[in-house]
């Protein structure tokens, strides 16, 4: 069984047809990169899987989105429960204006967990997973805003991991960071795939190459090509994919 599947998904924003019949199947514990020019639908597609699109007015979704074989848009799925299973990291580092500790604990607290020792344990585990523990262990009570951009983004990753999701969605997680921090995030993604199934939207082709196992190229709301990253980057089938990754677009 695939971890994540989309079957003939169509999405409309009002009269705008943003996703056109997307079929994709993603294996467990892999990193899938979504690439394509701005406005091609890759972020919209990513946000299908934690139902972030629901927040936008006038969105209509058809087709099936499955996680672990279950349709996440069915009536029996509670949206808060879904979001606990699917973590998300955003483009700009957006830690809450709270302490480092409280940022990671946030997801646990809003889900009603009050057990102090458990929360402390989870915070430590997640900060370690996000390769941040050594840098922040002495300033857990300090404001997260005092961290550097790269550290903030890793904190956001730790925050997403705290609620033990099995899927991690990343929307251009390194686009606002300097090269060193970017490299750290990429290493982290590479390490995290042992534990999570990751989908990452990126504008940076090299990043897709470095971190992902599979790559999906979106263009004008269509999924043009979905294949192993090696295949896409050395011998793409569709000429549009080739033009995009070689920078000959337009």
């Amino acid at each position: 069984m695939y971890k994540i599947e989309s079957k003939n998904v169509n999405l409309h924003y009002g009269s705008f047809h943003a996703l056109k019949g997307i079929n994709m199947a993603i294996e467990k514990n892999t990193v899938t990169a979504l690439i394509g020019p701005s406005g091609c639908g890759k972020s919209t597609f990513l946000r299908l899987f934690n139902r972030m699109n629901d927040l936008i007015d006038g969105v209509k979704i058809e087709g099936e989105c499955l996680i672990d074989g279950k349709d996440i848009y069915s009536k029996s799925i509670k949206i808060d429960d879904l979001r606990k299973r699917v973590g998300m990291v955003f483009q700009k580092p957006n830690p809450f204006p709270k302490s480092v500790f409280e940022n990671v604990a946030y997801g646990l607290r809003v889900n009603g967990i009050t057990h102090k020792n458990f929360i402390e344990e989870r915070v430590e585990v997640c900060l370690k997973q996000a390769a941040l523990w050594d840098e922040v262990k002495d300033k857990l009570k300090k404001s997260a805003m005092a961290l550097s951009g790269g550290q903030q983004q890793r904190l956001c990753i730790a925050r997403a991991l705290a609620i033990e999701p099995s899927v991690l969605l990343m929307d251009e997680p390194a686009s606002a960071l300097d090269p060193i921090s970017t490299a750290k995030i990429e290493e982290l993604i590479y390490d995290l795939k042992n534990l999570y199934t990751i989908i990452i939207v990126t504008h940076n082709m090299q990043q897709a190459g470095r971190v992902s196992d599979s790559t999906a190229f979106f263009y004008l709301g269509e999924l043009v090509e979905f294949d192993s990253t090696k295949k896409i980057f050395t011998n793409p089938t569709d000429v549009r994919t080739q033009n995009y990754i070689t920078g000959r677009f337009g």
Binding site: A183, E186, E187, Y190, Q206, G209, R210, V211, T229, K230, F233, T234
Partner: protein
């Protein structure tokens, strides 16, 4: 260790494995020649397919690393060097194979005298030594060792140049051994190429470690 480093480590160990494979091929072709062991020679010919397959795999790995990781500086030089070393090794594999094919087609055991005057066994041994040294210099990133190969190659060249006169003299005295003599000289010609290929490998090793281009230069 970073993802790219892991890939580069894999590439390095694949190249080392390729070295080993080709070294074995060369050693076995020498054995088959000395003992006129046609079975062993056939084994070398069959194994050549593995060498070729391995060459393709390494080529693909290099292509992927360049396409996916866009290596720069020493990493880029390393991948480029590996691609060339890979094809040099494959050629050495070819040479070992064609030696083995000669052995398969040989009718007679080579004359001891011929072997001695033509120094073909010494040629074999030197080539294998050069191979070992090349492999070691690559494995240990030892450019000093790599530079010593240029010296060793001179022995090979010397045997190759002398071989003409020596074999000609041999033919004059042993008119009935012309066939054998011709086989021997073409063997020497082939082995001379092993030295050249190793020289190229050494140049690539130095290129990626020191970023110095030694190709087409007399002073190394």
């Amino acid at each position: 260790m970073s993802h790219l480093n892991i890939e580069l480590q894999d590439l390095r160990s694949n190249i080392l494995e390729m070295f080993e494979l080709v070294q074995t091929q060369l050693t076995k072709s020498k054995e088959s020649f000395l003992q006129l062991d046609k079975d062993l020679a056939r084994e070398v010919v069959i194994n050549e397919k593995r060498v070729n397959g391995f060459e393709l795999k390494i080529d693909r790995d290099c292509e992927n690393i360049i396409a996916l990781f866009n290596p720069v500086a020493i990493d880029l030089r390393f991948v480029l060097a590996c691609m060339k070393i890979n094809s040099n090794l494959e050629r050495i594999g070819d040479i070992a194979e064609s030696v083995a094919k000669f052995v398969i087609n040989f009718k007679l055991e080579p004359e001891k005298e011929l072997l001695e005057t033509s120094r073909v066994i010494e040629m074999f041994d030197t080539c294998i030594e050069i191979m070992n040294t090349t492999a070691r210099s690559f494995a240990e990133e030892d450019t000093k060792l790599a530079r010593s190969i240029f010296k060793l190659d001179e022995t090979v060249d010397e045997i190759n140049i002398e071989a003409n006169d020596k074999i000609a003299a041999f033919i004059r005295t042993h008119a009935d051994r012309i066939n054998q003599s011709l086989y021997t000289i073409s063997m020497i010609r082939k082995l001379e190429r092993v030295g050249d290929q190793c020289k190229n490998i050494a140049e690539e090793t130095i290129f990626y470690i020191e970023a110095k281009v030694l190709k087409h230069k007399s002073q190394k």
